[in-house]
């Protein structure tokens, strides 16, 4: 097959503060054949986006250095040697790009119609009017309802999915030969993600273009890619056809990536991690034993929530107030040592449930019975006693630790507040012990959060909760921001801790595969309503509600799904 794009020996370095040089891409080579989809896969820091951006020369000139012997050959030209204006003529016309965050990638002050028409006016000889009507056709083609009206909308007036569709319309406007899609679905909800993936696959077919698809999620790749390039730390670990990658992965890293991610139909006792594949003896077979999940009769109920509701009031007009219902009559039970999964798309109210339970938000009505005591009715002072027994781990590991505190301070603070431990010495040794327990070295005690990776920070956050020995731990999207390999490690840690301390988890996530893996019971929420509550296997095998079915249908199926011939 003829190659549209050949990347040879691409090497990219970045100038950092104080004359330091960071090598982001270490001399990689790969090809994009005509009329095919190539996926560039890797975790954060693998250099996949940098590689893609250096193809179109969109890296910041001030700091990025592309070494002289690098080549990016596109239709016989080395793009890296092209004059600026020639390169500009190619961008948007022959090669176009869509980005991860559609909201910030669209100019907020121009209408979407303007922005699509702008590409056409730049690269074709269309008149303003022609460009406008063509833009409208494109809007229609990418599936935006009522395109005529939407043309005059500003980006913020569209939903995330629609924004990404506008980006795509803009990208395919000039019939490019190559579409670079840089994590185009990462910021979107699962159902939308599915639609966008389908759209891209569809357009690729229809316009006979090549797609360079950059993603961290192998599961997504399986559905659309012809070829897969796996990257780690600026190097290519493996490149092969999609079939080969999924069926006969060669490199341990690829293997690890494939099996780290929980899948809907497997539930091993522990998830395999990269380290398992790098060891000569391979994955510990014991860990692959399937675990049984679900509430059982006789489970002790630690927490019972009845008709929990939360309304927000907004000012509207001169004196009017408008009410927004974030959670409506949520009721559920949490058993000791079990996990309740809370799943839903953004805006479903799942996080609000968690925060309301802990009284980080004030509930509008309902009861939260903990050991028979309604937490919502307690005074602030009485509640302090219960506070330590319900703890929470937040989503963003970079924001949930105070950057000005050392890890030691972070861990000791709750102990002091709740008078745990006799004195500083005891607290210090308890903190040290907990650090060891969550898999961090003792020296971490003296370090600051910024010195840790995301996964390590999440471990610190977990350790902070453990200092108070809580009965209930709420994990609010706690693994969502992590790379898959790290995600697996943290999930394993959570599982181990539950086994050890018999804690109950409320596990909030948008990722159905993860929820399915870790939960005994799953509660599905949509727009504030509890749609369905059932044991996890039950819900995945026999979804009762329409919405649940839709959610399940949107889960990327990995390789197996794409074996079903579509073309």
């Amino acid at each position: 097959m003829e190659n549209l794009l050949e990347v040879k020996n691409l090497n990219v370095k970045f100038r950092l503060d104080g004359n330091q040089i960071f090598e982001a891409v270490k001399g990689i080579s790969f090809d994009v054949p005509k009329n095919s989809t190539v996926a560039l896969v890797g975790e954060s820091g693998s250099g996949k986006s940098v590689s893609a951006m250096s193809i179109v020369r969109l890296l910041p000139k001030e700091t990025a250095i592309i070494s002289l012997d690098s080549e990016v050959n596109f239709e016989g030209h080395n793009l890296l040697r092209l004059a600026d204006d020639k390169m500009r003529a190619i961008r948007g016309k022959d090669i176009s790009v869509i980005f991860q965050e559609p909201m910030s990638s669209l100019n907020p002050v121009f209408t979407v119609g303007d922005q699509i028409a702008e590409v056409l006016r730049l690269h074709t000889r269309m008149t303003r009017k022609q460009a406008w009507s063509r833009a409208e056709e494109l809007m229609n083609e990418v599936g935006i309802p009522n395109p005529k009206l939407r043309m005059n909308s500003f980006p913020h007036e569209l939903s995330g999915g629609q924004q990404q569709r506008v980006m795509i319309a803009q990208a395919i406007a000039c019939e490019p030969k190559l579409l670079i899609a840089d994590e185009p679905t990462t910021a979107l909800d699962v159902t939308i993600q599915k639609q966008i993936l389908d759209l891209i696959a569809n357009l690729q077919q229809r316009h006979q273009m090549s797609v360079l698809f950059i993603t961290h999620d192998l599961a997504v790749v399986g559905e659309i890619a012809d070829h897969v390039v796996v990257m780690q730390s600026g190097e290519i670990k493996e490149k092969a056809t999609a079939k080969a990658i999924f069926e006969t992965p060669q490199h341990p890293y690829t293997k690890a990536l494939l099996s780290c991610r929980p899948s809907v139909d497997q539930r091993p006792k522990r998830l395999p991690v990269i380290a398992d594949f790098l060891r000569p003896e391979g994955v510990n077979k014991d860990n692959l034993v399937q675990r049984k999940r679900g509430y059982e009769a006789g489970d002790q109920i630690v927490l019972e929530v009845k008709n929990l509701s939360k309304k927000f009031t907004l000012k509207d007009g001169l004196f009017k107030r408008r009410e927004v219902v974030a959670v409506k009559d949520a009721s559920f039970k949490l058993a000791r040592g079990k996990t309740l999964g809370l799943v839903g798309e953004s805006g479903s109210g799942k996080t609000t449930v968690g925060l309301t339970l802990m009284r980080l938000h004030n509930a509008s009505s309902g009861e939260v019975l903990f050991d028979g005591v309604d937490l919502l009715k307690l005074s602030e002072k009485d509640f302090l006693k219960y506070k330590r027994r319900i703890q929470i781990v937040f989503q963003n590991p970079y924001a949930s630790l105070n950057p000005r505190f050392t890890v030691g301070q972070i861990l000791i603070e709750p102990m002091k507040i709740h008078s745990i431990g006799r004195d500083e010495q005891e607290r210090t040794s308890m903190a040290m012990a907990l650090l060891t327990r969550v898999g961090l070295p003792d020296i971490s005690f003296y370090k600051y959060p910024h010195e840790f990776s995301g996964g390590q920070r999440q471990r610190i956050a977990i350790a902070r909760c453990l200092t108070m020995k809580p009965d209930v731990l709420i994990c609010d999207e706690s693994v969502s921001a992590l790379d898959v390999s790290v995600q697996a490690q943290v999930l394993n840690l959570l599982q181990d801790l539950q086994d050890e301390y018999q804690m109950s988890y409320i596990f909030i996530s948008h990722d159905l595969a993860v929820v399915k893996y870790i939960s005994d019971q799953v509660m599905v929420m949509s727009e504030g309503d509890v749609v369905e509550v059932a044991n996890s296997d039950e819900i995945y095998l026999h979804p009762q509600h329409e919405y649940t079915r839709k959610l399940l249908g949107s889960i990327p199926k990995g390789w197996h799904a794409s074996t079903v011939p579509t073309a």
Binding site: R91, S105, L106, L318
Partner: protein, 350 residues
């Protein structure tokens, strides 16, 4: 939007009340006794008492504050006599007396309703404000326009050339220029350009707008622009640089938009939002004017008037100027917020 504007106007009332209270407390209660300033060189107790009575400053503070509120509400006031005698609010129609010359009318004129007057000069305060604002605006509007235009144009230039030697030099010059006191600029510029070189008149003002703007105003305007430009340029540059780092700029480049268009269309339009905020902050200032410029160049503007009023404890002028400027400030803030809508489609009126 109507509801939004209404609510904002409604919210101005407590702020205005606060402004009145603060100014009242600061000047009237703890400030100097205006009667002494007006009394003359040789005074006795009776005369001071008389003046205090005439001014109404012999009343308890809460009564004075009440009348202050009333004056603001109606824009008019009566002599204290009528308040105390008739104990009824003055009627708006009975303004100044006509030309009737008998003493009965005069007595009536004294107890009737009149516009608030300066204690020092007996001039009607609304007239003071309206006549002094023209010179102030003659200076300040060109200053604001030039400063903004030059600031934006130069800022685009330096933002485009960011990181180069030119950029660094210009920023350096700006910092140095900002470090010199305005007072020094005025003294030196008046001496050099007004006197030594004779390019401009040293001082003065006329009745003709054209004469003012072409002859008297250029030097003060140039000075104010020069002094204001350096910080504006630095600020606007930072706005442009903030915008350049946004992802939509990358999108525009990915679309093949030429770099110049990226700056002039995509970046400029977005940077206008913080620039507008900044202008909104500066805008009320043009109604106060620079008292330094006004005193040094003999411009009969509001800034100088306020300074004189404070020195003479001319409380009606101080009160009126403060209330007027506070209202201007609040209304401008509202206008700027409404204007945002035009520049930034994301703005919703909540």
């Amino acid at each position: 939007m109507g509801a939004y504007v209404l609510r904002r106007l409604w919210q101005m009332i407590p702020t205005l009340a606060g402004v009145m209270l603060l100014i009242f407390v600061l000047f009237n209660w703890v400030g100097g006794d205006p009667a002494l300033v007006l009394a003359g060189k040789i005074t006795n107790k009776d005369q001071i008492e008389n003046i205090r009575k005439q001014l109404g400053v012999d009343q308890p503070a809460y009564v004075q504050l009440g009348y202050f509120a009333f004056e603001v509400a109606t824009g008019f006031t009566c002599t204290w006599k009528s308040y105390t005698d008739k104990a009824e609010p003055p009627k708006l129609d009975a303004k100044t007396p006509g030309s009737a010359a008998d003493s009965a009318t005069k007595a009536k004129a004294n107890s009737g309703c009149q516009a608030v007057r300066s204690w020092a000069t007996n001039e009607e305060v609304p007239k003071i404000l309206t006549t002094r604002i023209t010179p102030t605006l003659t200076i300040m509007i060109p200053v604001l326009i030039l400063e903004t235009l030059l600031g934006v144009i130069l800022a685009i230039g330096v933002a485009y050339a960011r990181g180069t030697l030119t950029d660094r030099m210009i920023m350096m010059i700006c910092t140095v220029a900002m470090s010199v006191s305005f007072l020094v600029y005025i003294i030196v510029a008046q001496y050099i350009f007004g006197f030594q070189l004779g390019w401009f008149p040293v001082q003065g003002w006329s009745d003709s707008f054209w004469k003012n703007i072409t002859y008297y105003a250029p030097l003060p305007i140039a000075l104010a622009v020069f002094v204001g430009l350096a910080p504006a340029l630095r600020l606007y540059r930072s706005f442009f640089l903030d915008e350049i780092n946004n992802e939509y700029v990358r999108t525009a480049r990915a679309k093949g938009v030429p770099e110049k268009t990226v700056m002039m269309k995509h970046v400029l339009r977005n940077a206008m939002i913080p620039i507008l905020t900044n202008i909104g902050i500066a805008l009320p200032g043009i109604f106060v004017g620079s008292f330094l410029l006004e005193t040094f160049f003999s411009i009969p503007g509001l800034g100088r008037e306020i300074l004189v009023a404070v020195n003479r404890s001319d409380f009606p002028v101080i009160k009126a100027a403060t209330v007027y400027l506070a209202m201007v400030t609040m209304i401008i803030n509202l206008l700027v917020d409404v204007l945002y809508k035009a520049v930034d489609p994301r703005v919703t009126f909540k």
